[in-house]
Amino acid sequence: MATATPSASVEGLRRQRRRPWLTDRRMAFLFIAPSVILLLAISIFPLIWSVYLSFTRYKVTGIEAPVWVGLSNYHTILTNNDLYDDWHIFQVTAVIVFCAVTLEFLLGFGLALILVRKFPGRGLILTLMLTPMMLAPVIVGLFWRFMLDATFGVVNYMQSAWLHLPRVDYLDQPNTAIGSLIVADVWMWTPFMLLISVAGLSAIPRYLTEAALVDRASAWFRFRQITLPLVWPLLLIALIFRTIDAIKLFDLAFTLTGGGPGQSTLTVSYLLFTKAFNDYDTGSSSALAYIILIMVIALANIYIRNLNKVASA
């Protein structure tokens, strides 16, 4: 590779003229195409097929061909005429997603504000704090189940023996079971928000904060006018991904509550799994998948519009 010395610039210009085929347009195409093609092949093609299936009554294990039923699957789900209490499931999912993501954001960002200052042991603490999100969700679910058990769990032991609070059967009552899911999810993913926040906060140019200090700006002013606007775009991207992933919550619920007690902690993803791989009701599960997709797209749109507004400001 040529080094950028003044005597080489003529050489470089000549080189440019000798390689005209790698134009900007071609480069853009070559850079972007592989990703898009891969996505089309593996993500989109199956998606299209399952759109078709969502308008049919079909069992993928069965021997009968799909039977066109139009919007019937969608109608059944949206009017709550299903075998499952779909409205309740959507509600539960919304509660879990909202509470979990909000808590993750507040906790993650709050901790980042503390951890962005340098103090002895900070690197170690930060690395350790990232470990929860490195565990597989199935394992996290299993262990929280283990820890929250009313008879054998360490959490109940600590609250009864050390804090003298009564034992709570966390996993056998709907409200506490939902709470347990939220706690486990917050435990797992706050580190994600923490890491992104720290990365974003670390990237704020020092000269901006220094300038504000010289101008005798208060801590709150510095935070609101400098820190927040600069770190907000990154936070928003993190929030988008975290919200989408929270809606897809399945592995954790699968091992922590199994959807129970009863069906009170069934999330939309879990319901999707049940319809697809327990009932093998391929038509209905495809319809449910698209209902979820449309909701997520609507939600993501709101986030992204906000992101574009902030970015262009």
Binding site: G110, T131, L142, P191, S202, F241
Partner: protein, 308 residues
């Protein structure tokens, strides 16, 4: 009174006439307490998993938890590699387990998928960031939307597609799949960082005679390394722990660790010791990788340098 006035600049922070020392100290103590509580909340379960890996089943299942008062055993770690089975004649033999094989598969498939997604994603991110792409925002949204659908929704079509193309239980099949999962996040994250790298750097390089591609390679890539490190941590974690597709699309040859670990829940009893040991061992590579790139994680990107 006079003493306070004299002492004020020294006793407040940054000489701005802010709050007195006592409040700062209380504030700091509260922050320290909050941090300590957070650390306990996040690290206690980790401690619990690791300590359980050294307990035998009787201690692990005890309703009175043993925090430190138990006889530690390395049996669980041994059982990751070798287990005893009864023979028909009433004796026992040692049988090597499949866990090392699962771990190996996880490493091969996940590292390959992460790298591939990082490379493809960074290229695409650069393309979106620097070039006028037709329907750019729509394309970007399309890329994001592939991540929005719960994977379960496309599992059956993908499974059938893979079966017909003989991709089930193959390394390349799994790598392609995981790469596809990771591309959206890689594109969005890297684009976010690359957007912040001022174009002036590349313009300067091209004025000096570099081609566009060389500018990308010599200027952008080094600057984007910290972002790439951070992104790769997330990409790796995503596929490292992936469960649903791994269970359905692998069988014996390419089975990765998460389904293998879940299978350790036998019916006779959940061997908490074994599961803790396997989980601890399985999370180590990710922890080590994160630790290796930790400086990049914290450094962030020095955008705004040119404006200086």
């Amino acid at each position: 009174m006079a003493q306070q006035v004299v002492a004020a600049p020294a006793a407040t922070r940054e000489g701005s006439g802010g709050p007195p020392v006592i409040l700062i100290a209380v504030g700091r103590a509260l922050l320290a307490a909050a941090l300590a509580l957070a650390v306990i909340f996040f690290l206690f379960p980790i401690f619990w998993i690791v300590s359980t890996s050294f307990k035998d089943l009787r201690d692990a299942d005890s309703p009175v938890p043993h925090f430190f008062d138990f006889t530690p055993t390395l049996d669980n770690y041994r059982h990751i590699f070798v287990q005893t089975q009864q023979t028909a004649t009433g004796g026992t033999t040692s049988v090597s387990t499949d866990f090392p094989h699962f771990f190996f598969n996880s490493i091969v498939i996940d590292v390959a998928a992460t790298l591939l997604a990082l490379v493809l994603g960074t290229l695409a991110a650069y393309g979106f960031s620097r070039f006028p792409v037709p329907a750019k925002n729509d394309l970007l949204f399309f890329i994001l939307s592939t991540r929005m659908l719960p994977p379960v929704a496309v599992l059956i079509p993908i499974f059938l597609m893979y079966t017909n193309l003989n991709l089930v239980d193959t390394y390349h099949g799994m790598i392609l799949l995981y790469t596809t999962f990771n591309i959206p996040f890689a594109v969005w994250m890297m684009k976010g960082f690359i957007d912040e790298i001022p174009r002036e750097y590349e313009d300067a390089a091209m004025v000096d005679g570099y081609t566009r591609f060389q500018a990308f390679y010599k200027v952008i890539v080094p600057q984007a390394l910290p972002a790439a490190a951070a992104t790769s941590v997330f990409l790796l974690i995503t596929v490292w722990n992936e469960f649903v597709f791994a269970t359905q699309l692998t069988q014996t040859a390419t089975r990765t660790a998460p389904p293998g670990i879940a299978a350790a829940q036998t019916m006779g009893g959940i061997d908490w010791g074994l599961i803790s040991a396997v989980s601890t061992l399985f999370v180590l590579p990710v922890v080590i990788f994160t630790f290796l790139v930790r400086n990049y994680l914290l450094r962030g990107v020095t955008f705004g340098a040119v404006r200086r």
